[in-house]
Symmetry: C2
Subunit: 265 residues, 2 copies
Amino acid sequence: MSEDAHARPTRDAPEPLYDVNIPTPTHAERARTLVAQISTGTLCTLALEPEGYPYGSFVTFAFDDGNPIFLISELAEHTKNLARDPRASLLVAEGGSADPLANGRVTILGPCTRVEGNCGSARAAFFAAHPNSRYYADFRDFAFWKLHVDYVRYIGGYGRMSWITKADWRAAEPDPLGPSAADMIAHMNADHADAMVLYCKAFSKATEITSASMTGVDRYGFDMSAMTPKGPRPVRLAFDKPVSTPEDVRAALIFMVKDARSKLG
Amino acid sequence: MSEDAHARPTRDAPEPLYDVNIPTPTHAERARTLVAQISTGTLCTLALEPEGYPYGSFVTFAFDDGNPIFLISELAEHTKNLARDPRASLLVAEGGSADPLANGRVTILGPCTRVEGNCGSARAAFFAAHPNSRYYADFRDFAFWKLHVDYVRYIGGYGRMSWITKADWRAAEPDPLGPSAADMIAHMNADHADAMVLYCKAFSKATEITSASMTGVDRYGFDMSAMTPKGPRPVRLAFDKPVSTPEDVRAALIFMVKDARSKLG
């Protein structure tokens, strides 16, 4: 498993405008957070015919203890493929950015096998994510299948990518702010653009800016794009301590506005 | 390549409320129409490591004479995979329905190889679909790759699925109404619900209905969901002759309203 390094001309890579050593989600955390927000993806199996071809099919899924669960019919091509060869992967891709390659995606690889016997936890996880599936779950040709995660490939957009080990995947948790991050970002950019400028001026080297907008928020802190005289530049700031709810974020951001105002005099 | 037939209890399958022999797009036409509206999907390749695993990755694509074109970096996993084994597939899935499994999707299989020499048509097709790709197309590590279609799997939603032969794929054309169908359907359902009831009563066996809404439109005709005393039922009606523009559809639908009114007296 090699790491990537697109061999781009570096020109004069500018110095970061913030402390890059502040707490930031790991790739494993980012990947777990991404897949937790999404419930459809592409299952890749090895085709019976044309023999050995990688075959992509659309699936709904849920997660049971970090492993993807599918509820699929034995009549479907992917199920026939898995019955012969369990090697599989699941691609989960997020939307959001107008530039599709700037969006994050995760490929999860491992053997995918039928859940035998009491499939209580797989069943509960799947029904929670797909309530309507109760309708066909007991059809004779349907069964639960589980992809046992061995390897994970994470691509978070341009230049942010790595292989995640099974141990890191299992140890990581989805960010508790994942489900509410988009709404918080929209709210901050709509109603609190001034606060973002204050944060940059008080707590980063981006002091000569005309505007700033939030681009991400997680339990450890938040990311902004600040407009400097030389164009847009990223700025990340950490919360005092990790947060776990939107209310925590609100309190932390209000505190930081007061702190910034007193610091800037 | 076997055809599917989900072994569902048929109960008493009701008689269709319309002439099922009227012109209808073939699966090849439906599949070509679907992929023509979408420009991102999942490329499935055979991984180097874990060796032989089917590997799904997010890609942007365009079509050049019915074959998918990719602009990918030799540093990316999928490109390394293809360089060793060209067997590949591309899954293209549409959104739209709240029930994800009711949406259409197409899997295109064939060898995917680097476009050598003058890649004029591939380049032109890709730039037309992804204008921003001009920025990185000439980076040393990027090249155009083409998936040479051998087999196509089409799933149009529940119970509508088949393998499409290479010859049928190549002979079919995307429906000329594809790019405007969603807008036309929204317009008809917002402003002309009464007309749909008239169509059903005059031209189908769905005479005892309380409402009807458009669910699809193509060059040959249009589909509705009609609310009968026994629940929603599908009704399809053909245009007098195939159409090719939204203006043709408008004229045909206005003519059919007049015809329906005179027929219903």
